[in-house]
């Protein structure tokens, strides 16, 4: 076959054009990808090779009123793994389990974390010990996707002494992550669990930062940093509280591990909570980074229920400490004065409606005035006083004194006290015909359908210690508004305080609790306990004429009020007689 030159020239030109156009078409495809769409591809490329590793923020320190540390941060470590798939994570972790202790359950939980948030390094050890970190560092090259990150770890220097109010932190759990309330949380982050840590979580949390590590296609870390500037974490500002750590420590050590009960100390003029303690206590430090199983089991099987906050969760009959409420309602209604005597003198009890109501002292107190009845805690007097007030007025008075409400303290999980809101309460509880006016007698001596928290009793006594107004108890330094809960004249209030002063004297029920040089005023209480020994109460304040501190003490099965009074006396004495504490400056703007 002969190829004619003219034909060849024509076809050659056609072929040249076809070739040029084909390559131009290819080039235009590259132009679109590399010039027009380049930014999008650059983003994808960065997303491929950079992994954001969170830098946990330090939680805000918590300080007491003098600048002593209640909660701080110490260096800790988290161990995370960058993983692309559940399968590679599983195989890495099973290899890792030969070096550090990992159960199959731990591995599955890590896989679930990965599924939840594939772009975040999967937490393997939220709180790795120094030993674990050293071992892992030794095997670093075998686990190129492993990231060991310094993470601040929470510590409570006074651990058990502060457990009643400080709470603890732990890693956010799966249920919470699924809930809409925690949308701004990510897996592996710490969250405040109880007490102040939970109440002020949003303030204490800080802002997580991040750094970028460079990885290859299999998730192996090839460069730890430098790919993109770090975004440092922002530590939370410190939180200053009203707590007096010195007093708190004193109370905790005084109650020790043998007594069961709760103590609340409040500054009456401000509502500032100076101390709040529940015994026996637990060590919140051991909750950080996961509660050891044996410790948790020990706490939950203990009959004395260390995890149950007796100061603000436990409700107990206030017993005779409530007689001041009965007296206040009667005085406010103008039914009696401090010198009023009741028609029937005390002969060890009171006959009402076919039933004999006993006074605690079988010998009787005779014909006592209101002031004497308070000092001697005469039940017979208060039975008659309650009847004089009448049930409906008494119930309304109790409502006004806020015995049916939470104190409103800035701590989570406060229990609402129980106080019958009106007569209808009894109709509903027992049926309209199934109860008698005898309930009035029980209520007037702090028994019956009335259970209060130690905290709420302390709040009530702040009104007695001042001008009849009470502030909401506050742990964190603020200045809450005071509300007047009883309309008593200064003279009436002085009368009540004098009577309470007599309680802690030779004329009263707690003479042994007297403090040298300081007049402690208060009221004992012995709450009847059908099944075992009675609970001991004391609520009071000092100095009597210029109260600086209100203390409420309740001892579970403490038998008699004076046992509680003696503790209150020690607390008050420590608070008022110790040398002045030099305040420590707190860094930051908290």
């Amino acid at each position: 076959m002969s190829l004619h030159p003219n034909d060849i020239q024509r076809r050659g030109r056609f072929a040249a054009w076809l070739t040029a156009l084909s390559l131009l078409a290819l080039a235009s495809g590259f132009f679109r990808a590399q010039v027009l769409d380049s930014e999008r591809y650059q983003l994808s490329s960065e997303k491929n090779r950079l992994r954001e590793v969170p830098i946990p923020a330090a939680r805000g320190n918590i300080y007491d009123r003098h600048g002593a540390i209640i909660a701080e941060n110490v260096p800790g470590y988290t161990v995370t793994i960058l993983s692309t798939s559940a399968d590679t994570l599983r195989s890495t972790l099973s290899r890792l389990s030969s070096i550090i202790d990992l159960t199959p359950a731990d591995i599955e939980s890590a896989v679930r974390r990965l599924r939840r948030d594939p772009n975040r390094p999967t937490v393997v050890l939220a709180d790795a010990s120094f030993d674990q970190v050293s071992v892992l560092e030794e095997h670093r090259t075998e686990f190129p996707s492993l990231i060991i990150q310094a993470a601040p770890k929470r510590r409570y220097p006074d651990g058990p002494a502060s457990s009643a109010f400080v709470g603890y932190t732990s890693e956010i759990n799966e249920t919470e992550l699924n809930s809409a309330d925690y949308v701004e949380y990510k897996s592996g982050q710490q969250i405040g669990r109880a007490g102040l840590e939970r109440q002020y979580e949003s303030q204490l949390r800080g802002l997580e930062g991040s750094r970028f590590v460079e990885v290859d296609a299999r998730g192996r870390v090839v460069r730890e940093s430098g790919a993109r500037p770090d975004r440092p974490a922002t530590a939370a500002p410190p939180l200053q509280t009203n707590i007096d750590m010195d007093l708190q420590r004193f109370i905790a050590s005084y109650l020790g591990d043998s007594l069961v009960g709760g103590v609340v100390a409040i500054e009456p003029s401000t509502g500032a909570v100076l101390a709040i303690h529940s015994a026996p206590t637990y060590d919140p430090n051991r909750f950080i980074g996961g509660i050891p199983t044996e410790y948790y089991k020990q706490l939950t099987t203990d009959d004395r229920r260390p995890l149950y906050n007796k100061a603000m969760q436990g409700r107990y009959p206030p017993a005779s400490t409530f007689k001041l409420a009965t007296a206040a309602v009667a005085l406010e209604a103008g039914l009696v004065t401090m010198d009023t005597r009741m028609p029937t003198p005390c002969s060890g009890g009171y006959q009402y409606g076919g039933r004999y109501f006993r006074c605690w002292d079988r010998n009787g107190h005779g014909a006592v005035t209101l002031a004497q009845a308070i000092a001697k805690s005469c039940d017979t007097y208060f039975y008659q006083l309650g009847l004089r007030i009448t049930l409906s007025r008494f119930l309304a008075g109790g409502v006004k004194l806020k015995f049916g409400e939470k104190s409103g303290i800035d701590l989570p999980n406060e229990t609402t006290p129980q106080w019958p809101y009106a007569v209808e309460y009894f109709d509903k509880a027992y049926g309209p015909k199934n109860w008698t006016n005898a309930v009035t007698l029980n209520l007037s001596i702090g028994q019956g359908e009335n259970t209060q928290t130690i905290l709420n009793m302390a709040r009530f006594y702040t009104a007695l210690a001042t001008d009849g107004s009470a502030a909401r108890p506050e742990v964190v330094a603020r200045n809450p508004e005071r509300t007047r809960i009883m309309e008593l004249t200064p003279a009436q209030l002085t009368g009540l305080r004098d009577a309470m002063g007599d309680v802690v004297s030779g004329r009263g029920t707690a003479g042994s609790a007297a403090i040298e040089g300081v007049v402690l005023a208060g009221k004992t209480g012995t709450a009847q306990n059908e099944t075992a020994r009675d609970h001991a109460w004391f609520v009071g304040f000092a100095p009597k004429d210029d109260p600086k501190i209100v203390v409420a003490v309740m001892l579970w099965q403490g038998e008699h009020g004076y046992a509680a009074a003696r503790i209150a006396s020690k607390v008050v004495a420590h608070y008022l007689k110790r040398p002045a504490i030099q305040p420590v400056d707190i860094e930051g703007d908290g």
Binding site: M1, G12, A16, L26, F31, A33, Q34, V35
Partner: protein, 425 residues
């Protein structure tokens, strides 16, 4: 008598530049964050092969075109035999480990017979076409050229190696075109393949069928021819779904992924998505030689073989891509010039056949890195790592240099291109 061989310097220089560019990128492909030992040392082996290829090309350029023509028949037969052997005893490799393209003796991979087959088919087809007085004027007259391609085509498709199959089809049509077969006949010859592709959409296929009938009526082939044509097209339309079922899963996956890479981003689509990211993120000037993050972090698969052009795009940017494509264009134009000026039909057809083969390689390989073409395992001439392919490319250069030296006029006459070449004669 010793005839002086005029080296076609522009052709050789372009090929040297392409090889140097390619080996540099193979070197870069080995520079990864986590060492891939065999890839890191690939450039050294590639250099060694390059040296061997240069010597072989020089030796071949000393051989007369007549000798090459004489070798066509035995070469073709050898290629068929090797393809048969490979089909039964071959082993997989590279991106397509499920297909058997490698000839292995005692665990040593000797090479890919498909590379030899490409050259053999070009030579054999040139011989068959050059033997004719006139270009084929009807489909019936195409039977012999078609048979020459069909036999090795069936053998490589059975491996299955879709890429090499495409190369054969490219060679076939390029050489028929160069031999002077009319465009209408080419269209008719291509019609069964077009039918096959369009059969997946009944409407498109119907439209194509109407066009085909119009072309048949206008062109007026022999009746038998026309009937065979129509029947073949209908058969293809019917066969397509059956063939689809017969395709190996990895081939089906590749075709589907070509249509939509995001369909399977972790598996089959992964390669092409990562390749696009690598190229796109290169921008105008690239991330710098050896500094491509997609490549360094092993996000880019087969970065030294099938996807080597993505490394060019990522590290050297649009500028580097344009330079590579420009070099290929210069090479192609120069080869067209060689074909245009060849002294005889056989030489001219061989030159154009080699061009056709390279064109398919470049367009398919470069196109697939941007998902403009479906993924097949065919390498990029002068760039992709691989000894037998480097050797094959330079043997082709050797043949072209020889053809060029035997051609009309001074072999190194400039400018590169078509104008003026034949005007002097």
């Amino acid at each position: 008598m010793i005839k002086r061989v005029f080296a076609d310097y522009p052709l050789v220089i372009i090929a040297l530049l392409l090889s140097a560019y390619g080996i540099a990128v193979v070197y870069s492909a080995g520079q990864t964050d986590v060492l891939q030992a065999s890839v890191a040392s690939a450039y050294r082996r590639q250099l060694a092969w390059f040296a061997v290829a240069l010597v072989a090309a020089w030796l071949l350029s000393r051989a007369s075109v007549r000798l090459i023509e004489w070798v066509s028949w035995p070469g073709y037969l050898l290629a068929i035999v090797l393809l048969l052997v490979t089909l039964f005893f071959g082993s997989g490799g590279g991106t397509a480990s499920s297909m058997r393209g490698w000839l292995t003796v005692g665990g040593v991979r000797l090479g890919q017979p498909a590379e030899l087959a490409k050259v053999a088919v070009v030579l054999m087809l040139a011989k068959v076409l050059a033997a004719r007085r006139d270009p084929p004027k009807s489909l019936v007259e195409l039977w012999l050229p078609a048979l020459v391609v069909l036999v090795p085509w069936l053998l490589v498709m059975a491996q299955p190696d879709l890429g090499t199959g495409m190369v054969f089809v490219g060679i076939f049509f390029a050489m028929l075109f160069w031999a002077g077969v009319s465009a209408r006949l080419l269209l008719l010859a291509a019609s069964p393949a077009i039918s096959l592709l369009l059969a997946f959409n009944t409407g498109l296929w119907g439209a194509w069928f109407l066009i085909l009938i119009a072309v048949v009526l206008w062109y007026k082939p022999y009746v038998v021819e026309g009937v065979v044509l129509i029947v073949t097209n209908v058969a293809m339309g019917v066969l397509a779904p059956i063939l689809w079922d017969k395709l190996a899963p990895h081939q089906r996956a590749r075709l589907l992924v070509f249509l939509d890479p995001s369909e399977d981003p972790q598996a089959s689509g992964y390669h092409v998505i990562q390749s696009q990211i690598a190229i796109g993120s290169g921008g105008w000037f690239g991330k710098g030689f050896t500094l491509g993050t997609q490549k360094r972090g092993s996000f880019l698969p087969e970065q030294h073989t099938d996807f080597i052009f993505a490394v060019v795009g990522e590290e050297l940017g649009f500028l580097g891509v344009s330079m590579a494509l420009a070099l290929f264009l210069l090479l192609f134009l120069r080869v067209i010039r060689v074909a245009s000026r060849a002294n005889d039909s056989f030489s001219s057809l061989v030159a154009f056949g080699l061009l056709g083969s390279w064109m398919v390689h470049v367009i398919e390989n470069v196109g697939m890195t941007l998902n403009l073409m479906p993924i097949t395992g065919i390498p990029l001439p002068f760039f992709s790592y691989g000894g037998s392919f480097m050797l094959a490319c330079w043997l082709a250069i050797g043949i072209l240099v020889r053809i060029s030296s035997e051609g009309r006029g001074e072999a190194d006459a400039l400018p590169i291109g078509l104008r003026g070449s034949s005007s002097r004669y």
